[in-house]
Structure formats: structure tokens, C-alpha cells
């Protein structure tokens, strides 16, 4: 009989899914615990996207309000809880950015601003091997793209720009933008897989 048993690590802290279950039942402390675990990721993404501290704070609050009022819409089969949380944050930021763009003219972005910072923002002891590996792998994959490809991906994801908006901002033909985006994302996917395997083999 196949058996992959191994007793788990003792009395562990509740998982995020367990905490979410409590939140759905109205448990305030469970929401507080989820905030402690994930507010840093949510806030960091929001700050990167809206580039405004008080707005990033507002977004972070709204994201956790969404967990409180609509946490039951999370589906575990669609991926991890933090991915869901970050996509809620991402959508909220995109709304903000589109609102803002309706008011203001698009500013040109230089490739310099596209630089991705691989630091984890301090000597965080809790950053375990796997997480650090993930972050490095992904940052490296993004940084290995030719700058023009990286640029259109960053503009689409972090600034919520469509292909034709990117074409306007950069003054590049729409076809060029489309090609860069396609090649860039394909390449990132391949790099992430390859680097990941290489990293595993070094362990």
C-alpha cells in the first residue's frame, strides 16, 4: 500500500485557510492574525503600484475589509490564499490608477524606473529558504529579460496600462509592444522553470 505518511510539525499555528474559516464566522482575532501575516506583502504591492503612501494604506485597509466581508469568495482550488489576496490588492490598485489617469495625463516612464529591487527590505530573519528562493528566482527572471520586454510587462502589470496605452506612452508602434510583451512573458515563464530546477539541484 502506498503511504506517504509523516506526522506534521506538532501543534502548528493555524493555517491561513483555517484562519479564513474563522474570519468568515466573524472572528475578529483571526482577521488580526491574517493581517499580521500578509499586510506587508499587500502594502508593498500597493505602494509599488500607486506610489503614494496614504493611498497604499487605504488600499491595504480595503483589501482586509474585503477579507472580512467577502472572504467566503476565496476558492482554495484556484491557488494559495496569498495569491488571492494579492490579486484583490492588484485589482484595487488598477482601479485607482485608472481613476487617476482619467484625471491626469500619462507620464513617460524611463527604463531606469523599471529596475527591480531584489532586496527583501531588511534583515528579516523569517525569510526562509524557499521564500527567498522564490523571490530571487522571480526577480532574476524578470531582470534577465531584455529591458524593452521587461518594461512593457512592468507597465502592464504595475501600472495597469493596456497595450495601446503603452504604445502611446513609449511612442513605439503597437505591433512592437505586442511582440515584446509576448516574448517577454514567454521567456519569463521558461526562466522561472529552469532557474527553479537549477536552484533545487544546488541544495
Amino acid at each position: 500500500m502506498a503511504d506517504s505518511d509523516s506526522s506534521g510539525p506538532g501543534p502548528a499555528a493555524p493555517t491561513e485557510v483555517e484562519l479564513l474559516g474563522l474570519v468568515i464566522r466573524g472572528d475578529r482575532e483571526a482577521l488580526s492574525a491574517l493581517y499580521d501575516r500578509f499586510s506587508r506583502q499587500v502594502y508593498s504591492l500597493a505602494l509599488r503600484m500607486v506610489e503614494n503612501q496614504s493611498l497604499a494604506e487605504e488600499v491595504t485597509q480595503d483589501v482586509f475589509m474585503t477579507v472580512w466581508t467577502r472572504g467566503s469568495t476565496y476558492r482554495s482550488d484556484r491557488g494559495g490564499f496569498s495569491s488571492w489576496l494579492l490579486s484583490v490588492a492588484h485589482n484595487r490598485c488598477i482601479d485607482e490608477l485608472r481613476k487617476r489617469r482619467r484625471r491626469a495625463k500619462l507620464a513617460t516612464i524611463s527604463i531606469d524606473e523599471m529596475r527591480v529591487d531584489p532586496s527583501t527590505g531588511g534583515d528579516e530573519v523569517l525569510v526562509a529558504v524557499l521564500q527567498r528562493l522564490d523571490r530571487e528566482t522571480i526577480v532574476e527572471a524578470l531582470n534577465q529579460l531584455p529591458p524593452p520586454q521587461k518594461q512593457v510587462i512592468v507597465m502592464a502589470y504595475f501600472q495597469g496600462l493596456t497595450q495601446s496605452e503603452i504604445s502611446d506612452v513609449l511612442g513605439s508602434p503597437l505591433g512592437t509592444v505586442k511582440t515584446r510583451m509576448r516574448l517577454g512573458l514567454h521567456k519569463m515563464r521558461d526562466l522561472m522553470a529552469v532557474e527553479r530546477l537549477a536552484d533545487q539541484n544546488e541544495l
Binding site: G26, D77, L130, Q200
Partner: protein, 264 residues
């Protein structure tokens, strides 16, 4: 628009950068094309990871207090969502589950997309679940990639397993290679079994008694990825179930049904 044309647009679609006619045409095609939906999931996985590239900065210390005040205000004004009913008392499990009302989704998701979702889940594992088993974890991730080739092969059947009333947050996917009798079970939102207990996967064919496909108890952060060689043929299957059993497994199910799924 045909698959080849749609494929070109998928990275932009995953990034949310498509618009107008392109977006409408791609959306329309995706509705009827599992192959392209699968390819889209591959790109989505990359996009899902982009927040990892952002420098991590702590929010101001007082932000939490402001959030909790908002929540308390909401609760006080009684607008807050009503708590859900507690799950019903666990029912004993016996007999063939044919009449049981089980909400079952037959896989329209393709195997690779499930795989990529599984991979994404692994990436979001909590730091405190790692402890000393980083190496084991790493090898587990690698095994997932090894199995990718298997998962993309023809003759692979997928069944969605849905949590019963005792485990409403639990979801699973079972990928089966019908020719080689190999399978991979992925489950999310699963509570780790108590000490001395394990989960056991059962397959009903047309008989009233199920056959055991094996046990698995290695739940990390609610997530299980279990690869196994089935002791019996996986063809002509009808119904799958997961129960909790004493460690080592039982001859027949004795615990309550946690997950259930139905074949084609």
C-alpha cells in the same frame, strides 16, 4: 480567431493589457477552447508571481489599529456579514454513495493548468511550515516538475474532488494515467490528520465496497501533493472518496467522507 492566433494574445490577456476587439475575440475563443485556457493558465502563473519582485516594506504600525476600528464600526452598525452556520454534525459514512448528493465538477480544467496551480500553491507556503524540511520541500517541488511530462500526456483523466459538509473549504484534483495506473492527488484546504491518523483514498467501481488506493498524511499548510502507483486498474471508475482512518489505513472506510468526486 483560431488557436494559433489566440495563443499570440494570451500573455497580454494574462497581464490584463488586451483591449477592444482583441480582448473580445480572445474571450470568446477561450470560452470554447480548453487548450487555450490551459495555455493561459501557464502565463497567469507568471503574472501571479510578479508581486514577488516588489521590495518589501512594512506598513505603518498604526494602520492595523485603523483597520480594526473600521471593522468594529462595521460590526456595530450591524452591516457585517452574518456568521455562517456551523457545519452540521459529522455523519457516519457507510455504503455506496450513489444516492448521496455530491456536488461534483468533472474536469474541464486541463491537467497542466492544475499542475501549475499546484505549483503556485507550493510557492505560497508559510515560512513557519518549513522548519527543518527545506530539503525535503525542495525535492518535492522538483518531483512536481518531473511529473509535468506525465501530466501533459494523452490518456490522462482528471477528476475534481469536492469537500463534503465536514470539510467545506477542501478541494482536490486527481490526475490519473489510465494506461500506467499512475496518479497524482492534489488537495488544498485540508486539515492535517491528528496523530495516529491518516487520510485514505478510495475508489468505487460498480461494487458496493470500495478498493483502497493508499493513504496520505503529509499535509503542509493545508496542501497535499501525493503521487502514487495504483494497486488496481483506474479504468472504468465511478466514484472516489477520501476518509480519515487510523494510520496504516483500513480495509474498508470507517471514518467520515471528507472529499468526494465522480467519474465520467
Amino acid at each position: 480567431m483560431n488557436c494559433e492566433a489566440v495563443e499570440e494574445f494570451l500573455p497580454a490577456h494574462a497581464l490584463g493589457a488586451l483591449e477592444g476587439e482583441d480582448a473580445a475575440a480572445v474571450e470568446k475563443h477561450l470560452k470554447g477552447c480548453p487548450t487555450c485556457r490551459l495555455a493561459l493558465d501557464g502565463h497567469r502563473l507568471v503574472v501571479l508571481n510578479l508581486p514577488e519582485t516588489v521590495p518589501q516594506i512594512d506598513p505603518p504600525a498604526d494602520l492595523k489599529g485603523r483597520l480594526m476600528a473600521r471593522i468594529d464600526a462595521l460590526s456595530a452598525s450591524a452591516v457585517a456579514a452574518k456568521p455562517l452556520e456551523a457545519p452540521g454534525v459529522a455523519r457516519r459514512w457507510f455504503g455506496f454513495p450513489g444516492q448521496r448528493r455530491v456536488q461534483v465538477l468533472i474536469a474541464s480544467l486541463s491537467t497542466v493548468s492544475l499542475f501549475l496551480v499546484g505549483w503556485a500553491v507550493f510557492q505560497t507556503l508559510e515560512v513557519n511550515d518549513l522548519r527543518d524540511d527545506n530539503v525535503e520541500m525542495a525535492s518535492e517541488i522538483r518531483k512536481q516538475w518531473d511529473t509535468l511530462a506525465f501530466a501533459t500526456a494523452d490518456g490522462v483523466q482528471t477528476v475534481q474532488l469536492v469537500g463534503t459538509e465536514v470539510a467545506p473549504m477542501t478541494k482536490g484534483s486527481l490526475l490519473m494515467d489510465l494506461e500506467e495506473n499512475k496518479a497524482i492527488l492534489m488537495v488544498t484546504g485540508l486539515t492535517p490528520p491528528p496523530k495516529g491518523m491518516t487520510y485514505q483514498l478510495w475508489l468505487w467501481k460498480h461494487e458496493t465496497t470500495p478498493a483502497s488506493l493508499g493513504t496520505f498524511g503529509n499535509v503542509r499548510n493545508g496542501y497535499v501533493m501525493w503521487r502514487f502507483q495504483s494497486p488496481i486498474s483506474l479504468v472504468a471508475n465511478r466514484f472516489w472518496g477520501v476518509t480519515m482512518e487510523p494510520r496504516g489505513g483500513s480495509e474498508q472506510p470507517t471514518g467520515e467522507l471528507v472529499l468526494a468526486g465522480e467519474g465520467e
